[in-house]
């Protein structure tokens, strides 16, 4: 595929922070990846792996120390407005505007992308319906439950119909039923040709909805491939045994969590999964 047709391209991205003690932390250490139209690309990694910093750099909010991020072929730091017009972001933190109700929130956000108010209202009504929030349309943000707010924040990221959708742990705190509903919405959305970048802690989620997954640790991508290929490459057996509690083990097919634990260290080394 020609480079200009790739919705999201990250090239040798490096991000260093200056610490309060005068030292420097390299949060992202030269990562590269590209997300194709209609692809869902997952970022997996422990806390402090550099996932959220990567996302802040690719939304253009943090300047990269070196390297570049291209959205629809436009450098997010050199042409931030043009690049972000094609970008929808759902941050890990709640950033809903609590001065507006659910409906007005979406319509106002649409105007930031120069979507006319009438069109914004149509899209907002449609999104509230799809996210099962239609009856909360006129409800103020404070009166919504945590799960409803999370859904609303994902809906807000979709209001501009972006070609690149970035979701930083969108399903944290959602119950399984709502999580599945969200997966269905994302599946629909990617079928329109949009590229999705998903950062998640849920291995099952990554395995289920991501075409490819990058496993990150200490600012680097340790490996990137489809979940099936990662499992075959790093686990390579048909079954693994896992100790559920002392004296009770079960044998099961390997999954992405086994790969994650093997590549990032921690529990696997302690013998919780034994390929």
């Amino acid at each position: 595929m020609a480079a200009e047709n790739i919705p999201l391209r990250v090239e040798n991205l490096v991000k260093r922070y200056r610490l309060d003690d005068g030292g420097e932390l390299e949060a992202v250490a030269g990562i590269s990846f590209a997300v194709a139209p209609g692809e869902c690309f997952g970022l997996l990694g422990p806390n402090g792996a550099g996932k959220s910093t990567t996302i802040s750099c690719l939304t253009g909010f943090y300047p990269a120390t070196s390297g570049r991020v291209l959205i629809e072929g436009r450098d997010v730091h050199l042409e931030p407005k043009a690049a972000r017009r094609e970008l929808g972001v759902c941050s890990q933190e709640e950033t809903l505007d609590s001065d507006f109700n659910a409906f007005d929130q979406l319509v106002r956000h649409a105007t930031f992308f120069r979507v006319p108010v009438e069109e914004g209202e149509k899209r907002a009504a449609d999104l509230l319906e799809r996210f099962q929030l239609a009856d909360k349309s006129n409800v103020e943000i404070e009166a919504l439950s945590g799960g409803m707010r999370r859904r609303l924040q994902v809906a807000r990221a979709l209001i501009s119909r972006p070609k690149v959708l970035v979701l930083d742990e969108p399903t944290t705190g959602l119950d399984p039923e709502v999580r599945r509903m969200l997966w269905a919405v994302l599946a629909d959305y990617r079928s329109t040709g949009a590229a999705i970048l998903l950062s998640t802690h849920y291995m099952e989620e990554a395995q289920r909805i991501c075409d490819r997954v990058a496993i990150m640790a200490r600012g680097k991508i340790l490996d990137v491939d489809s979940p099936a290929n990662l499992i075959a490459k790093h686990i390579g057996v048909a079954e693994v045994s896992e100790e559920l509690r002392p004296g009770v083990t079960w044998r099961r097919p390997p999954n992405l969590e086994d790969v994650y634990l093997k590549l990032t260290g921690s529990k696997l080394e302690a013998g919780h999964a034994d390929p």
Partner: protein
């Protein structure tokens, strides 16, 4: 009409604040105008009836007129500072709407301009309402509502810059109390709102002139009461305006962007 991209972004942010203001109109009218109007009534009519006249800078005016004019400056100070300091901190730290807006085609620079311009607008309107009361009660000529407008807006922007700088530098909302008690409150008391500066010892007059509210009060009295123009007020205000507006934007950007 096609608005240039940057102005359009600032306009979007300003309109966001205006819509919030419109939604909570009753609340904002009470919180914006109660304090200056009560101060006006208390000092202008209450204390003013005890004092009678004030002789300063070769002018004899009633205390009521003198203090009405000072309360315009005080309104600019408190409205500009508090909206930007507390409101700005809440929007940056608790609501995180600066961050949310700056991930859209609106840049953080435009978000901060929108914030400052809104804070200045709100403060300027409050000052004009105080001036209007002065005009209705016969303290100032009607034309002063117009001549005062640029001064009120730019001074409001100055104190909004101060407030936003405080918001950007405060680790938590309680820390805003430090500049409030150590800088805003002394300005309120020593910069000529309630009495002529000549009443203070000489060294305190010099200190007062360094603070921007003294220049705001001096220019306000020139425009509303015809007091002599103290030219040095202009460079003092211009220096503060530049330092605080540019400084606040820099501090807030450093706070948000790593």
């Amino acid at each position: 009409m096609l608005i240039p991209d940057s102005l359009w972004g600032v306009r979007c942010v300003w309109l966001r604040y205006f819509d919030v203001f419109r939604k909570g109109l009753r609340y904002y009218l009470v919180t914006t105008f109660t304090e200056p109007i009560l101060t006006l009534l208390s000092f202008g009519l209450g204390v003013g009836s005890l004092i009678g006249g004030v002789h300063t800078q070769g002018h004899q005016v009633s205390y009521r007129d003198f203090v009405f004019s000072g309360i315009i400056g005080q309104t600019i100070l408190t409205q500009g500072f508090f909206e930007a300091a507390y409101g700005g901190f809440i929007r940056m730290y608790y609501q995180r709407i600066f961050q949310a807006m700056a991930q859209t085609p609106i840049t953080l620079s435009e978000v901060l301009w929108g914030e400052l311009l809104w804070d200045a607008t709100k403060s300027c309107v409050a000052a004009e309402v105080v001036a209007l009361i002065g005009v209705v009660l016969g303290s100032f000529p009607a034309i002063s509502l117009l001549t005062l407008l640029p001064l009120a807006f730019l001074s409001s922007l100055l104190f909004a810059g101060f407030g936003l700088a405080v918001a950007a530098s405060s680790k938590n909302i309680e820390e805003i109390n430090y500049p409030q008690y150590l800088i805003v409150f002394p300005m309120f008391l020593f910069c000529g709102v309630f009495y002529p500066l000549e009443s203070l010892p000489r060294f305190l007059q010099y200190v007062a002139w360094v603070l921007p509210l003294t220049s705001v009060n001096s220019l306000t009295r020139t425009l509303t009461l015809g007091f002599p123009f103290e030219w040095w007020s202009l460079p003092i205000l211009a220096a503060w305006l530049l330092a605080l507006v540019l400084g606040s934007r820099r501090l807030m950007t450093r706070r948000l962007v790593k």
